[in-house]
């Protein structure tokens, strides 16, 4: 029986890179999901728009023009709002804000959640007890309203929004990581490391986290989508960053022009849907690739 050396360790000290076969199996599973590649394509398109924003947008999104509440037409493919701002430019530049916000919030959540979860699962005992209680409690607190309160009190600039969202949604990742850490703790290669006297921090960083992070990765993609939707909701209530052109804010400001100026609402909303869908599909593909049993049964 081959020793349990942590699946893909090649040399002592090697933090473990996935073998070629594993990468290929993963990729095959991802492609088989059919949703995964579509999501990736959508995301690529959105990212492209974000990168090429100055080239694609005819004007700056904040710029006022004389064409007030102009319907979609030549010069303004998505129309303008009641202050003459070009909706198309707003949508295009908005990709940058959404992607930035989504990714940063989710990254914060991933980092905090992974660390807390790994420590809780690995340490066990009273540390785990306390951290688990904390995770459970935070999972029950309504995210949207907490973020609302905090932003009202602390300020609504974009960095605040990103940080607050990230710091409220991490418990889901923590729970996933904790479950992984609990089972990884019993694996031979981890116990060997402990027996050899490796420092706990090192064990966490080199063994536990790299091997257990996969469900967190899949979940984090979904959290990007969630963060974008949350920010949109906050902006719609007027709590977003007023200096930033986000799609939610555009809908908020376009509300006064409804129903005549329907284009001020339709297009930013569609942009949200497309971007969020991209992340949902990617997350679906990841789940498919990382969960072979579910795959077999057709789930």
């Amino acid at each position: 029986m081959r020793a349990d050396t942590g699946r893909h360790r090649r040399r002592p000290g090697d933090p473990g890179r996935a073998t070629d076969l594993e990468l290929r199996t993963f990729w095959r599973g991802y492609v088989e999901s059919r949703s995964g590649p579509i999501g990736l394509a959508l995301l690529a398109a959105v990212a492209l728009v974000a990168a090429l924003a100055p080239v694609l947008a005819p004007v700056r999104p904040e710029a006022f023009t004389d064409a007030l509440l102009a319907p979609p037409g030549p010069g303004h493919p998505f129309g303008t709002d009641h202050l003459g701002r070009d909706i198309f430019s707003g949508v295009v530049y908005g990709t940058r804000i959404s992607l930035l916000l989504g990714v940063v919030s989710a990254a914060i959540s991933a980092v905090v959640g992974t660390v807390v979860g790994a420590v809780a699962g690995y340490a066990g005992g009273w540390i785990d007890e306390i951290l688990s209680r904390l995770i459970d409690v935070f999972l029950m607190i309504p995210v949207f309203f907490l973020v609302l309160v905090v932003i009202m009190l602390f300020g609504n600039s974009l960095p605040y929004v990103m940080t607050v969202i990230g710091l409220t949604i991490w418990p889901a990742n923590a729970r996933l990581m904790r479950a992984q850490a609990l089972s990884l703790r019993e694996r031979t290669f981890v116990r060997a490391a402990v027996a050899l006297g490796e420092a706990h921090g090192r064990i966490l960083a080199r063994h536990i986290i790299p091997h257990g992070i996969y469900p967190v990765v899949a979940n984090t993609t979904l959290q990007v989508a969630g963060a974008i939707l949350t920010e949109a909701g906050l902006s719609f209530l007027g709590l977003g960053d007023p200096n930033v052109v986000s799609w939610g804010r555009m809908i908020y400001e376009g509300r006064v022009s409804m129903p005549h100026g329907w284009w001020t609402t339709l297009f930013p909303g569609l942009a949200i849907v497309v971007t969020v869908m991209a992340f949902y599909l990617i997350g679906d593909g990841l789940n498919h690739a990382l969960n072979p049993q579910a795959r077999e049964r057709g789930a």
């Binding site: 029950m140 602390f154 789930a299």
Partner: protein, 324 residues
């Protein structure tokens, strides 16, 4: 039976802990926020000296923190959530007035979402990887990707503004108020768009959970036993598979509560539905902190209690827990 009591005790403990954390959080956030607590609680930058005096006295802002906290908890236990600055009425009163419409909207929408999600999830789960399944899954993802306020506005645009079938706002027609049955029919008429919006956005969750659950249960060993015994597939499905597969969806009801309320707030704003959501919007607009925080407390408590109730119901429904 003892396991049930133990289960109950543990869940209640978790509830109390959550409520405690929420209260502490509320307390800490106000005092940790940038700016003078007085100004925050007054809702303005330059409160008059009398106002400062009154607020300091009311919230004990000159006392040590521990005393303040204790006073805060005491007042909460007495049902005092503070006083709204804009409306100049107790927060609890304002919330009590608006909770009804919010409940009506939320419960209707959730029930609709549950029914629809479970039905479609069952359809998909019994034919995984089929074209219908792919279509339904895609539709579910699309709906879940839509911001509730955007979907509401689009619905309002099409069905209210362009087609004129449904009213655009409010809970009933204020210009010609009705009584009795006519009134409730009017309310129902106004409820259609907001409830449909909220239901459509929530449905995908129940759909996905039910679908996965059905797929899993259909592969369970007891299904083979019953098939081997000669039971008809329809009988097996109706009497055995469904009951097993629906349990996880019940759990979702409790887990979704926080999101449903957030969605409800946004939908209420879109349709000017006189519920807590619109109250929240007003409070935000006027920086009415006591009101916002009172709402936050109530919502958090509601979610925690709702989760507890759902857990209890689930524990009662699942014999493995009830007679564990």
């Amino acid at each position: 039976m003892w396991t049930t009591l133990g289960y109950l005790a543990r869940r209640c403990g978790a509830l109390l802990l959550t409520l405690a954390v929420v209260v502490v959080l509320n307390f800490v956030l106000v005092r940790a926020a940038p700016g003078d607590p007085v100004r925050i609680l007054a809702g303005m930058d330059q409160p008059s000296p009398e106002m400062v005096e009154a607020l300091t006295r009311r919230y004990g802002l000159d006392q040590p923190l521990a005393v303040q906290f204790w006073a805060y908890v005491r007042s909460l236990l007495q049902g005092d959530l503070g006083r709204s600055i804009t409306f100049e009425r107790p927060v609890s009163q304002l919330i009590a007035q608006t909770v009804g419409p919010t409940l009506l909207l939320t419960l209707t929408a959730t029930l609709l979402a549950f029914a629809l999600g479970v039905a479609l999830g069952t359809v998909s789960g019994t034919r995984p990887r089929s074209r219908l399944d792919a279509l339904l899954s895609l539709a579910a993802y699309l709906l879940y990707a839509m911001p509730p306020f955007w979907l509401g506005m689009m619905g309002m645009l099409v069905f209210a503004s362009w087609l004129g079938w449904l009213p655009t706002s409010g809970m009933y027609d204020v210009r010609s108020p009705q009584t009795g049955l006519a009134h409730w029919l009017d309310v129902a008429h106004h409820l259609v768009l907001p409830a449909a919006t909220l239901a459509l956005v929530q449905m995908p969750v129940f759909y996905r959970v039910t679908r996965a659950s059905v797929v899993q249960v259909l592969g369970d060993d007891f299904v083979t036993t019953l098939r081997a015994a000669g039971l008809r597939p329809g009988t097996i499905f109706r009497r055995y598979v469904l009951k097993n597969a629906l349990l996880p969806s019940v759990t979702m009801l409790g887990l979704q509560l926080g999101y449903v309320l957030a969605g409800a707030a946004l939908v209420e704003v879109v349709f000017s539905w006189p519920g807590m959501g619109r109250l929240t919007l007003n409070a935000i607009y006027r920086r009415d902190f006591p009101l916002v925080m009172g709402i936050y407390l109530v919502v958090s408590a509601a979610v925690a209690v709702g989760a507890l109730i759902t857990d209890l119901v689930y524990g009662w429904l699942d014999p493995r827990i009830r007679y564990g």
